[in-house]
Structure formats: structure tokens, C-alpha cells
């Protein structure tokens, strides 16, 4: 589904990713964990084309998207839930969702909207409320819902648990599990390593711009190195 081959990414002269190779197969949940500044978000942004990789290749469903414009990439069956949610604060919940389905027909929008409300009944209750006035958890639900509106085959989540209460995090992860049931491929980037790895089929550990470890989720959870560094021993 998504393949990164020896990707290098630069911010100006500084190299943030030193040759990263990641593969996400269809129908999988793949987690990427790493400390602050390891390059997790950079890796996701490289997939989206801002900034573009300076070397290596990014393939989406076999198509080379390394040098494609962000707007094109984001319209080819992939959706991202950006770090920090980034809902449109002045727009209502419904309008936010409609923005997510910007390039779809009205009938498609209506269908995906019903589906999103099914996943998140809370959003249905808040339909006409401005997104900026909602709680962090609700905004995260909205951000995920908005990403689902374009009917993606693959969804990328950047730190969905950031700044949320444990009970909300639980709910969010349950929903992510549900997305897999529906056949959506999930690429999950998290600092919350325990949650992310228990849910994932496979996991990658990113350290200072390099892939350090790569294994199944369960194996990584049991790995002493990972336990030491990310799970508090």
C-alpha cells in the first residue's frame, strides 16, 4: 500500500531523515513510535509531500508520489489526521466534515457523513456547534471523522492521543481498531507506545532519523530495549 524506500528528508541543510524504509501493507495497522524529535512527523509530512524527500522513493499503491504536489497526493485515497487535531475552529462540526469531503459528490458526502456519525454519535449531537468550542477529545473525533469523509483507503494518524484523557484515548484506539475491520489501512504515529503497539500488527521504532527496530507489535512490546526506552522498564 505505502512503501518508503531509503527516504532522506532535509529541512534546509539539516537532514532529518537519514534513509528510512517503511512498508505498510493493505489492511494492516502499522505503528511508528519514537521519542520527541526522532523524525516521526517529518516522516509523515514527507509522505504528504511537504517537504518532499531529497533522496529515495515514496510509493503509494505502486505509484511513485515522491515528487507529486501535496494536493494531488491528498486526493489519491490517503487521508491524514494532523498532529494537534487542527479542526477549523470557526466552522461547525458539519461544515468541518463537509470540508473533508471537498472533492466528493453530494451523495457521497451524505453517505460518509452518516457513517462518521455512526462511528462518533457524539459528533451528531454537536452537529451545529462550532468546532473550536468543543473539548479536545471531541475535536480529535472530528479530525478523524473529517479525514474519513474523503473515503480513504489508507489513513495516517499523527499522535491521536496527544493531550487527551486516558478514557478518551481508549475510545479513540477502539475506533482505530474498528477502521481496520472496515478494511482501511492505518498508519499510526504515537508517543504512547504501549497503546500503539498493542493495537498494531507491526511496529517501527524511529530514533534520530533512522529506523532502529522493526518487528510485530507483540514482539516489540516484549522487546527489552523497547521496554527500557519507551515503556518505562
Amino acid at each position: 500500500m505505502l512503501i518508503l524506500e531509503d527516504v532522506h528528508t532535509h529541512y534546509g541543510k539539516i537532514e532529518a531523515l537519514h534513509g528510512v524504509s517503511v512498508e505498510v501493507n493493505k489492511g494492516e495497522i502499522v505503528s511508528l513510535i519514537g521519542a520527541n524529535g526522532a523524525g516521526k512527523t517529518t516522516l509523515l509530512m514527507t509522505v504528504c509531500g511537504t517537504p518532499q524527500a531529497s533522496a529515495g522513493r515514496v510509493l503509494l499503491e505502486g505509484r511513485d508520489i515522491t515528487h507529486e504536489a501535496t494536493s494531488n497526493i491528498m486526493r489519491s485515497g490517503i487521508a491524514i489526521v494532523p498532529e494537534g487535531r487542527r479542526v477549523f475552529p470557526g466552522l461547525t462540526v458539519e461544515e468541518n466534515l463537509h470540508m473533508g469531503g471537498f472533492f466528493n459528490t453530494k451523495a457521497e458526502i451524505r453517505k460518509s457523513q452518516d457513517h462518521v456519525y455512526e462511528l462518533f454519535p457524539r459528533l451528531k449531537e454537536r452537529e451545529q456547534q462550532r468546532a473550536g468550542t468543543m473539548s479536545g477529545g471531541e475535536q480529535q473525533m472530528l479530525a478523524i471523522g473529517r479525514a474519513l469523509m474523503s473515503k480513504p483507503r489508507m489513513i495516517i494518524l499523527d499522535e491521536p492521543s496527544l493531550g487527551l484523557a486516558p478514557i478518551i484515548i481508549q475510545q479513540i484506539f477502539e475506533i482505530i481498531g474498528q477502521l481496520r475491520e472496515e478494511g482501511i489501512t492505518v498508519f499510526l504515529v504515537e508517543q504512547n507506545a504501549h497503546q500503539a503497539l498493542s493495537l498494531a500488527d507491526r511496529g517501527y521504532v524511529l530514533e534520530t532519523g533512522r529506523i532502529r527496530l522493526h518487528d510485530t507489535g507483540t514482539n516489540l512490546l516484549a522487546n527489552p530495549e523497547v521496554r527500557e526506552a519507551y515503556l518505562g522498564g
Partner: protein, 423 residues
């Protein structure tokens, strides 16, 4: 509590004296070839000190005065009223707007020539402000050089009529499209800029256009401007006493009525009115179309908008182009109304006034912008009796307005897009 207020008040009073005394209290008198400084009469000096005293007292008791002023907005009978439901409000708004337009259609036949002339200017400002509203209010791109597009529209008509004899109706779309093209061209270099940086670049662009017009004497006549811009015609009927162009007839002859110079003024007013209404309707349409929502999404959160596959380039350029298009529209009407244009009509202050209209009216709100355009254009005229102080009154009104209603006269109510559910 009392001490800092006292110090502050004393400081303010001293500043008042330092500023006011040299300006008002000392006069330069020319005596043959020399200039000598003379002290002003006692009354002036006394009033300067009286003013300083007033400033001192106000600053000293500022907290108490402001507290009592704080009770003022409650005098507004509508303050506590519940907001109307969205649909009712929208319907009321469209009825009010229709009523205003109908009234405006018949209004010029009952008032003086001067008022109609002023009203035409108001309508030109409405067009400008509605256009800038797209760029600033909806797309959130702070444009300080908007007057450049206005100038492009006006000069397009002036030059085309001078060199090619093109009529108003031909020049109208050409001027608007050329202005739109300039908007597109300006859009490219500023795509990556936001906020303050964007404001500075657009400010520079506005100045470039003005200075170009000022210095390209061979083409534009430089500071002398271009005169003799023809009036619009009504299906080949001219509004002058005598027909200027071969093949045209004159309006008063065709209808067998006595010639009156008022006909032309009213005709121009009606053209401006119709164009302003068209502008409002088109932009209203845009606001409800996907592109309108894309503008707003980009304003709210650029990264999120891009993550949904919106192209930053397309969205920003469309806002710039459409905004510039209507400035070109307004410019053509302006050139025709004045009959003479020079770079002096397109200084930075114009951009600032148009921006002030948009901000005063409430970003993104059409009705608000219309009301603000009327207020901003007419207020200096009403304050004419204060002659020298009218700009002061104007400025004070703006400051008070921003203190009491920072969100503008009529803040934008977002139109909610409801999908019709098919059962």
C-alpha cells in the same frame, strides 16, 4: 491605586503641553525675507493649559469614568435580545437588502445633484469593499495594496478611450479582467507569505503601480493625469447637450424632454447601483460555492486545509483574482464618473480606507460592509461643518467604534450549508 494614576495623569498632561504648545502657541511670521517666531495670544495659551488640565483630570479619574461608561451599552434596547434563528435572520436580511435596493432605485429622482454624486461614490466604495472583503474577510489575506487594482481598472478605461476610443461598456469588462490579471500576477510571488509579510508586499505593489502611473509620462500623462474620459451611453444615447460621437443620438432629444445635466449624474448613479448589486450577488454566490468554503478553510487553518487536498495555490490565487476583478469594475466606474483621473486618486490612504470599511463592517459580512461603506464615505461629508476637524472627528469615530464593537457593525454570520436529505 491612587499614586500610579496621579503619576500617569501628570505625565499625560505634560505630554499634552509639550505637543500642543509649540504647534498652537508659537507662530511663524514672515517679515520681509526673514521668518520670526512669535508667541500666540493669551487665549490660545490659556486653552492649551486648559486642555492639559482636562487631560490630567480625565487620566486621574479614568477608572471611574470608564466604569460609568461601561454601563452605556445597556442603553441599547437590542443588547439583551435573543439572537434570531438562522433562517429567519437570513430571510429578514434579504428582505432588508431588497428594500434598500428598491429605495435606492427611486431615491435619486427626489434629491439634489450633490447627494446623487456622493451616493455614486458610496456605491463605488461598496464595490471596492465587497471585493476586498473576499481577500481579507473570507480568505484572510491582508492586502494593503488593493487600490492598485482599482487604479488598473480606472487607467485601463482612461487609456483605452484616449488611444482607441473605446466606450464605457466595452472598457468595463476589459478593465475588470485586466485588474483580475494583475491580481493573479501579484498572487504568485505572495503565495508563501502570510500576515505581516503579505501586508508589506501588497503595500509595495500598490506603491509600484502608483509610482509607475506617475512616472510613465509618455503613456499616462504622469501627475497631470488623463482627462476627457467619456461618459457612459445608454444604447448609443449620449447624455451631453450636444452629441460628441458620430452616429449617436442624445438622450433628451430621443425622449423629447428638456436637457438637464442631472440626467447624466442620475444615470451614472444607476449604473453604479446596478454594478454594486451585481457585485454583491456574485460574491454571495461565491461564498456559498465550494470555493467560498475553501477560502474560509484556508483562513482558519492552512495546514488542515492542505491536508484535505486543497491546493493552496489555487485557493489563494482565486481569492486575489476575484477581489481584483471587482476593484477593476469599480475603477472603470470611477474613471467615468470623474471624467479625469490622476495617480493622486490612488494613494495608500485609499487602500487604508477600503480596509477600514471592511474591518468596520465586520470581516466577511456583506450587509455590514455596505453599511460601513455608507458611514465611512458620508461621515466626513456630514462633518464638513467642522471643516478642519472633520478628519479628527472621523478618526475619533473609528476609534470609538473599534472599542465598542471590535467585531464590526455586523459581524459575519456563517451561512450554514445544509444538504437536502433524500428520503
Amino acid at each position: 491605586m491612587a499614586t500610579p494614576n496621579f503619576k500617569h495623569a501628570l505625565f499625560c498632561a505634560i505630554v499634552t503641553i509639550v505637543i500642543a504648545y509649540p504647534i498652537l502657541g508659537l507662530n511663524l511670521v514672515a517679515e520681509s525675507t526673514r521668518v520670526i517666531v512669535e508667541g500666540a495670544d493669551t487665549t490660545t495659551v490659556i486653552s492649551v493649559f486648559a486642555a492639559a488640565l482636562v487631560v490630567f483630570l480625565f487620566q486621574l479619574f479614568r477608572d471611574r469614568i470608564m466604569a460609568s461608561l461601561g454601563g452605556l451599552p445597556k442603553l441599547n434596547p437590542f443588547a439583551d435580545r435573543e439572537h434570531m434563528p438562522e433562517s429567519k435572520r437570513a430571510r429578514l436580511e434579504s428582505w432588508v437588502l431588497t428594500g434598500i435596493v428598491v429605495l435606492a432605485l427611486f431615491w435619486p429622482f427626489f434629491v439634489s445633484r450633490g447627494s446623487v454624486d456622493l451616493a455614486t461614490l458610496v456605491l463605488i466604495y461598496i464595490m471596492l469593499a465587497l471585493g476586498l472583503n473576499v481577500v481579507v474577510g473570507l480568505a484572510g489575506l491582508l492586502d494593503l495594496g488593493y487600490v492598485a487594482f482599482y487604479a488598473v481598472g480606472a487607467y485601463t478605461f482612461a487609456l483605452l478611450s484616449q488611444y482607441a476610443g473605446v466606450s464605457f461598456w466595452m472598457a468595463l469588462p476589459i478593465g475588470a479582467c485586466l485588474a483580475a490579471l494583475f491580481g493573479l500576477v501579484l498572487g504568485f510571488p505572495v503565495l508563501r507569505l502570510r500576515g505581516d509579510y503579505l501586508a508589506i508586499v501588497t503595500l509595495g505593489f500598490g506603491e509600484i503601480i502608483r509610482i509607475l502611473l506617475n512616472n510613465w509620462t509618455a503613456l499616462t500623462g504622469g501627475p497631470n493625469g488623463i482627462g476627457g474620459i467619456p461618459d457612459p451611453t445608454l444604447f448609443g444615447m449620449e447624455f451631453g447637450r450636444r452629441v460628441k460621437e458620430e452616429g449617436n443620438t442624445s438622450f433628451h432629444d430621443t425622449f423629447g424632454i428638456a436637457y438637464s445635466s442631472e440626467h447624466k449624474v442620475i444615470f451614472l448613479y444607476l449604473i453604479a447601483l446596478i454594478l454594486a448589486v451585481i457585485t454583491a450577488l456574485i460574491i454571495r454566490r461565491f461564498m456559498r460555492m465550494p470555493v467560498g468554503r475553501a477560502w474560509e478553510a484556508l483562513r482558519e487553518d492552512e495546514i488542515a486545509a492542505r491536508s484535505l487536498g486543497l491546493s493552496r495555490t489555487a485557493v489563494k490565487l482565486s481569492a486575489f483574482t476575484i477581489g481584483a476583478f471587482f476593484a477593476g469594475f469599480a475603477g472603470t466606474v470611477f474613471a467615468s464618473k470623474q471624467g479625469f483621473i490622476s495617480p493622486e486618486s490612488f494613494v495608500f490612504l485609499e487602500s487604508a480606507i477600503i480596509l477600514a470599511i471592511v474591518v468596520l463592517g465586520g470581516m466577511g459580512s456583506q450587509l455590514g460592509v455596505v453599511l460601513a461603506a455608507i458611514a465611512v464615505t458620508i461621515l466626513p461629508e456630514l462633518a464638513r461643518e467642522f471643516s478642519d476637524f472633520r478628519m479628527l472627528v472621523f478618526g475619533a469615530a473609528m476609534v470609538l467604534m473599534m472599542v465598542w464593537r471590535p467585531q464590526g457593525l455586523m459581524p459575519m454570520r456563517r451561512t450554514h450549508i445544509q444538504l437536502r436529505r433524500q428520503e
